[in-house]
């Protein structure tokens, strides 16, 4: 089967630091692929090359077999790739609705939209409220409240809702449950399953092994800037995975080839 998303020999250097060192990457249609690895292994850099936020120094990225060269996140979004960044990428002083529609605002119909370029706030607010309610993350009273007045968990919920609402081809989640409590994490895991049921593949970066083993179809283990191996969570235990990722244990040879 052809991967929906494929990376080959991706390289990214920051001065003397090699964040990505000839890294390969494959995402299959409809799957949940977990990416695990130590802090600083290069996971965030890898997904940023896919989302257009970082331009790799070398290597190629293919979507459904066709090579793409993204130079900005806008281009990746136009291909239906939505990303929840580790930093969440939200404007704290702006409202939830403003943030959800940042960069893809809806204009009013008629001459107020075409000539005066007025935004259709009502429509954006309604859609934003709908999306948050769908996620069950709607403990937020006011869609117009500034994002900085939300708790860490609520902010993460909004960021995930934004990605889930607009992603049509691939959804990338970089540590989406890091700031969440048990109940909120549950919601996000359910959401991930929902998105998968819609047939949309997901890349999930997480440090939470129980979460990873619960939802992942395959696990990409990242070490020192490259893919060390890919394992099936049914064949290995959590402590095996941690041992591979920290270098305490050699990866299985058949998994390295995969």
């Amino acid at each position: 089967m052809e991967p929906i998303l494929k990376g080959r020999n991706l390289v990214k250097r920051y001065g003397k630091v090699t964040a990505l060192d000839s890294c390969d990457f494959d995402l299959m249609p409809g799957e949940i692929l977990a990416v695990i690895g130590d802090n600083g292994a290069g996971k965030s850099t890898l997904i940023k090359t896919i989302s257009g936020a970082v331009i790799p120094d070398a290597g190629s990225i293919y979507i459904e077999g066709k090579e793409v060269k993204f130079t900005s996140p806008i281009q990746a979004r136009a291909h239906g790739i939505e990303t929840v960044y580790q930093t969440l990428a939200m404007s704290p002083a702006l409202s939830i609705a403003d943030n959800m529609f940042m960069g893809r605002e809806i204009k009013k119909e008629g001459f107020m939209g075409t000539i005066f370029r007025q935004l259709d706030r009502k429509k954006m607010e309604t859609l934003a409220r709908e999306k948050l309610t769908e996620l069950g993350l709607m403990t937020i009273q006011n869609i117009n409240q500034a994002v900085e007045t939300l708790s860490g968990g609520q902010r993460q919920g909004v960021a995930v809702a934004r990605a889930a609402a607009f992603g049509s081809k691939v959804i990338i989640l970089d540590e989406p449950t890091a700031a969440l409590g048990v109940k909120e994490s549950r919601k996000v895991l359910e959401l991930i399953q929902d998105v998968k049921a819609r047939g949309i593949p997901i890349i999930l970066i997480s440090h939470n092994m129980p979460h990873v083993f619960e939802v992942a179809d395959r696990i990409h283990i990242h070490r020192l800037g490259k893919r060390l191996c890919v394992i099936d969570p049914k064949d290995y235990t959590m402590s095996d995975a941690v041992a591979f990722m920290t270098g305490a244990k050699e990866p299985p040879s058949e998994a390295v080839a995969a």
């Binding site: 969440l88 704290p92 605002e105």
Partner: protein, 360 residues
């Protein structure tokens, strides 16, 4: 416009707030902080209204007359227009020290193109507006593409533009009378609408076209900043440029467009300046950059970017105007004005810090 609605909401919610004041002191302070957070122009509006009331009581009809109050508007018109340009830049977490220089150079271009080259005055005005926009573009390009700090870029451009202004104009003033007879369009913004003057033509409310332009500009910018995608992007870029970029905002393009619009508005200020002083003078408007920053800060726009409104800047400029005229009519030493303005600046920044602390 939309801010006015917020004030109304405040007025209607006051009843409940006061009722809970006794048993929930913290809650009241918290709500106040929240309200100020939503509407940062509320503080300067209150200060402005209080200042007008106090000077009105102290000075009576000498101050509280249509003539004196509209005189304040005329005196703040130039600073207000430049302040609008400054507001846009400061909302992106930048600063523009070259606004005054752009204003003067643009006015000199309008004057010299008419009188030295004999171009039709409409063409000369258009060239002046273009000149301001171009200066803004250079600022924007250096900030957005070369990633140089706005403070340094505009400090340098301030010197460069001012020197260009003196070299090009040969330090030559174009006299008011010459302009009035040969190119009255240059003095367009000095045209005065008088309402309710006495038979001798004294007193009454005087609105120059410059004042009307200022009000229209502030309303238009308020609309654009609140109601269009570009306006939202300006706030997002000022708030957190990295987050804005990741959310699909074209940060460079937004920044360059902000500096260009700022330059264009400064050029309009240059045109209005000719109307105000009558002549084209390369030595005028030297304090515009400091005065515009003062109006912006007192108006509650955060120097850290992403917070505040152009309406607040207008209130800030008016506060300075009210203090200046009020203290002069009281016969106080002009230094008292500067002292009070200084206090207001520091108080405004302290309030901004307080509001920001609350939100976290």
């Amino acid at each position: 416009m939309a801010d006015a609605q917020d004030y109304e909401k405040l007025a209607t919610s006051n009843a409940q707030t006061v009722a809970q004041f006794a048993d929930d002191d913290r809650g009241f302070v918290g709500r106040l902080q929240h309200r100020l957070h939503l509407t940062p122009s509320l503080v300067p509006l209150i200060v402005l209204v209080l200042a007008i009331i106090v000077f009105g009581i102290l000075l009576g009809s000498k101050f509280f007359s249509p003539f004196a109050l509209t005189l304040i508007l005329q005196q703040v018109a130039i600073v207000g227009i430049v302040g609008a340009a400054q507001s846009l830049v400061i909302l992106t977490a930048g600063i523009d020290l070259s606004v005054g220089a752009i204003m003067v150079l643009s006015s000199v271009v309008m004057g010299q193109f008419t009188f030295r080259y004999g171009l039709p005055v409409e063409v000369a005005v258009a060239c002046g507006l273009l000149c301001g926009t171009l200066c803004g573009f250079i600022n924007g390009w250096l900030v957005a593409v070369m990633k140089l700090p706005p403070f340094i870029v505009t400090l340098g451009m301030w010197q460069i533009i001012l020197a260009t202004n003196f070299l090009y104009s040969a330090n030559e003033t174009i006299r008011s009378q010459e302009i009035a007879t040969e190119a009255p369009l240059l003095q367009f913004f000095g045209t005065t609408l008088t309402i309710g003057a006495d038979e001798a033509g004294r007193g009454g409310a005087n609105f120059t076209y410059g004042v009307i332009f200022l009000v229209a500009l502030v309303l238009a910018l308020t609309y654009v900043l609140r109601e269009t995608a570009w306006g939202r992007h300006v706030y997002a870029v000022g708030d957190d440029p990295d987050a804005a970029e990741l959310s699909g905002v074209r940060v460079k393009r937004t920044l360059i467009s902000v500096y260009m619009l700022s330059g264009l508005i400064c050029a309009f200020a240059g045109w209005a300046l000719i109307g105000r002083i009558g002549s084209v003078s390369p030595t005028s408007g030297q304090l515009a950059n400091i005065e515009s920053i003062t109006a912006v800060v007192i108006g509650g726009i955060s120097l850290f970017g992403g917070r505040g409104s152009v309406l607040g800047m207008l209130f800030g400029a008016l506060i300075v105007g009210v203090f200046t005229l009020g203290l002069r009519l009281l016969g106080a030493d002009a230094q008292w004005t500067y002292l009070l303005i200084g206090l207001l600046i520091i108080a405004a920044v302290a309030v901004d810090q307080w509001i920001r602390r609350v939100s976290n």
